[in-house]
Symmetry: D2
Subunit: 91 residues, 4 copies
């Protein structure tokens, strides 16, 4: 596993622990706004993972496809990026 | 634990499993866009938990504070809602 | 017109001018990313107007409704806030 | 001016009119939540313009840069896309 993959896994492990922490807060009847703040913090953390994965994607698959000769494949990768962008905007 | 709290806990447990599933996808070198889509799905799921918690908060703490006689406390709960709204908008 | 309303109107006038400016950028074939950045700046500015309007709403209509005796009306204003929160999260 | 540019301009003109309409709503003291809903509608409309501009950008500048031999330029366009993605996520 390369360094970058390890970093992504570690971030996801930390997010998993954070989600478990929120379960405990809910069980212990923590103040609602504190729970909401923690969930928003997780959403930010997930956003960072997403950027990291997208970064890698642009440098590998997208670059290969766009430099390649298959016009359909080029369209496909561009379409995917636009879709990610639109979905992200809806979060 | 009341029904609503159980529902929130169950959603969070399912989100936790979802995050673990993404770790596996990353380890197994899944296609980047599939990973991004799964992360966006988790962000939506967290958003639903947030709405649920906020719903409860408005019906309990906020209603009590606003119906109460303490103007400072009324300001405090309103300020908190605005802050959640602004942070959310930045996600 | 009170001070706060004037402030909101002024912000909206400035946003209107900003949108006209982007039309010019598009007509003059400006660099795409510069256009995207300007549009994102407008979205931030609109977000600030939204917070301002919501702030006023919480201090007036919502406070009146929640302090009132009409349970249906209380439910209505709370439901509206939750809906704004959910829609905002999708932008 | 090509068809696509005209479409973008028309969308922006319609958004400009929409912003003016909201000014009127504020002046006439419309219900806060109606104003908030209209602002959220404009943010969606701006999001569509953004997708359109980004679509064009990916098909022109980004494709040219990535197919080109200048590694620095390739890095630059990829970096810009990631930045747009991150900023958008914060709106």
């Amino acid at each position: 596993m390369n360094e970058e993959t390890k970093k992504i896994i570690n971030r996801l492990k930390s997010i998993e622990g954070h989600v478990r922490g929120i379960q405990k807060m809910v069980e212990e009847d923590a103040y609602c706004i504190d729970i909401v703040n923690q969930i928003q913090a997780i959403q930010s953390a997930l956003q960072k993972v997403n950027s990291q994965v997208l970064d890698r994607h642009l440098h590998t698959c997208v670059t290969t496809a766009i430099r390649g000769d298959d016009a359909t494949e080029r369209e496909r990768v561009i379409g995917e990026i636009l879709q990610v962008f639109d979905t992200k905007a809806k979060k």
